[in-house]
């Protein structure tokens, strides 16, 4: 009995330690970042596009807009392609293809983002520059690279979601005379929708959080993009570019940017939980 109590104490200690460290991080980030938001004012911080930290201007609007557009672009590219791939692999191809492809997708999901960024710089950026215009390092390049990066995640989870739909549903639909595609469109997809939405949200989370690949291909210019060929700087790229030398208010501003990202992720997670719970 004593041994049991002892072990329970150890486990409690471990649990408290890990929860404590996670709490420490959250508190640390908010502690460092909030003073700046109160100093500049929330409206000024979020809605001004003048970012000149060494001179006391902390407006992150340009970067918020860039992050949003880059992520949206990535979703526009990654989700249809990924979903199409998942449908074809899960519904229209033999089992063997699936077992061959799953490990390949996991391999691709594991490749570091800097490799994707590098391949983007070498292959994609010159293409954009020569055939579409602009410096090549652009919002478009960032969106395409991010879209490719989230493909493995979206495909994997969607395949899982589609495979989880019981065959019963498909058999019933076919028995009623529907074609394969009608079955997929009207029966399987709605049934797997919560899993697919989870895949999309996870992909979105990954796209928002991506730093290195975006720094390499997006150009990092401090302006609100007016065309997809404009160079942009996302919230995460900004933190990475200035982190090494930011002190005082400047550093607080970076933490404040972190708070904004944290809240965005929180909202995404809440949405994901709400949707999966409702279904």
């Amino acid at each position: 009995m004593k041994k049991e109590l002892f072990i329970e104490r150890i486990l409690l200690f471990l649990a408290l330690s890990s929860i404590g460290s996670l709490l420490l991080i959250t508190v640390f980030i908010f502690w460092e970042g909030v003073p700046l938001i109160t100093h500049t004012g929330l409206k000024n911080f979020l809605l001004s596009s003048h970012w000149a930290p060494t001179r006391g201007h902390f407006g992150i609007l340009a970067m918020i807009i860039s992050s949003i557009f880059v992520t949206l672009g990535a979703m526009v590219l990654g989700v249809p392609l990924g979903l199409a791939c998942a449908i074809v692999l899960a519904e229209f191809s033999p089992e063997r293809v699936k077992t061959l492809l799953k490990p390949t997708l996991e391999l691709l999901a594991g490749i570091p983002s800097v490799v994707y960024g590098f391949l983007g710089v070498v292959w994609l950026v010159p293409l954009i520059r020569d055939y579409l215009g602009g410096p090549g390092l652009s919002l478009l390049a960032g969106a395409i690279i991010l879209g490719i990066m989230i493909l493995p995640t979206v495909i994997s989870i969607s395949i899982d979601a589609l495979s989880a739909v019981p065959d019963l549903y498909r058999d019933g639909s076919i028995a009623l005379g529907a074609t394969n595609w009608q079955t997929v469109r009207r029966v399987v997809l709605p049934a797997a929708s919560s899993g697919i939405i989870t895949a999309v949200i996870l992909g979105m989370g990954r796209a928002i959080g991506e730093t290195m690949a975006v720094i390499m291909v997006a150009g990092n210019a401090l302006k609100i993009p007016t065309s997809i060929l404009d160079p942009v700087r996302t919230l995460t790229s900004n933190i990475a570019l200035e982190l090494g030398y930011a002190t005082g208010r400047h550093r607080e501003a970076l933490f404040a940017t972190g708070i904004v990202l944290f809240i965005i992720i929180m909202i995404l997670n809440l949405t994901a939980t709400a949707i999966t719970r409702r279904r």
Binding site: I10, E210, L261
Partner: protein
């Protein structure tokens, strides 16, 4: 005019197959490019020699050591904490609003962009605590990064163990801890090791965080306070500065092979563990 469903199916299938072909082409292109340009670089001397002349020549031995060092440190720190917490949260507490908040917090932190954790690690470990750019700073920050992942996957794995197992054990007179170590943990081990393998994979690919906490020193790190650059960081520096394209591709190829190896090991480990339970 209603289109014959068979025709619309034909159109949709063609469209989907086209999109799939395009997607697979891109993905295969990535793997093939890295392999073709990088694998020729992967020789024994490349793996065993240290980088010279800012990485222009020589090998990548020091980066391999640094990567292993930092990853092992992170896993060693995060696993006991993570698995222990997961055990406590599932076995010793009741499901209530506290556990839900903790779970939500862990989910959020797992999803937070890693650069924020890099910022945190830089400010706390490198500067305030004075560890400087070191394997210690890098490992601690990575541990903090993978802790939520390990907690989450371990928790799910432990919760997936059917309650019947536990009830049977209690009814046979086993104590709580005996149940956990002899029945629950072994059953959950495949899921837990998946979580750990996921963390290893994530650490391998992490660049921004390690650049700012473990630094970019070219020499092989020996003590925990030495700085060292991991393979991903080395690749990033080689690639963006155009120092040596062949070496960059070679490093990328080795990273790809490492990830492949880890996936294979994880898969076979899972198979092995699953077999233990018939």
């Amino acid at each position: 005019m209603r289109i014959d469903p068979r025709i619309s199916q034909g159109i949709m299938k063609a469209l989907l197959w086209a999109l799939t072909g395009f997607t697979l082409f891109i993905l295969v292109f990535i793997i093939v490019t890295i392999s073709i340009k990088g694998l020729p670089q992967v020789t024994a001397s490349f793996l065993l020699k240290e980088p010279l002349d800012m990485g222009r020549s020589g090998g990548i031995f020091s980066t391999i050591v640094a990567t292993a060092y930092v990853t092992i440190l992170a896993i060693l720190l995060a696993s006991p904490l993570g698995v222990g917490s997961a055990i406590y949260l599932t076995e010793y507490t009741r499901e209530g609003w506290i556990t839900r908040i903790i779970r939500f917090g862990a989910e959020c932190l797992a999803g937070v962009p890693s650069i924020i954790l890099g910022l945190f690690g830089f400010v706390l470990f490198v500067m305030k605590l004075g560890f400087g750019w070191s394997i210690l700073s890098g490992g601690l920050t990575l541990a903090v990064m993978v802790l939520p992942i390990i907690i989450r996957t371990s928790e799910e794995a432990i919760k997936a163990v059917p309650q019947e197992y536990r009830l049977v054990c209690y009814s046979l007179g086993l104590s709580k801890w005996q149940t956990i170590t002899r029945i629950v943990l072994p059953s959950a081990l495949p899921g837990i090791s998946t979580g750990i393998m996921l963390s290893v994979g994530r650490s391998l690919g992490e660049t921004a965080v390690l650049l700012f906490t473990a630094g970019a020193a070219l020499r092989t790190p020996v003590s925990l306070f030495d700085s060292g650059r991991t393979m991903a960081v080395h690749f990033y520096i080689l690639a963006r500065e155009g120092i040596s394209m062949p070496n960059a591709y070679g490093t990328a190829a080795i990273l790809m092979i490492s990830i492949l190896l880890i996936n294979v090991v994880a898969y076979s480990l899972m198979q092995h563990l699953m077999k233990r339970y018939s």
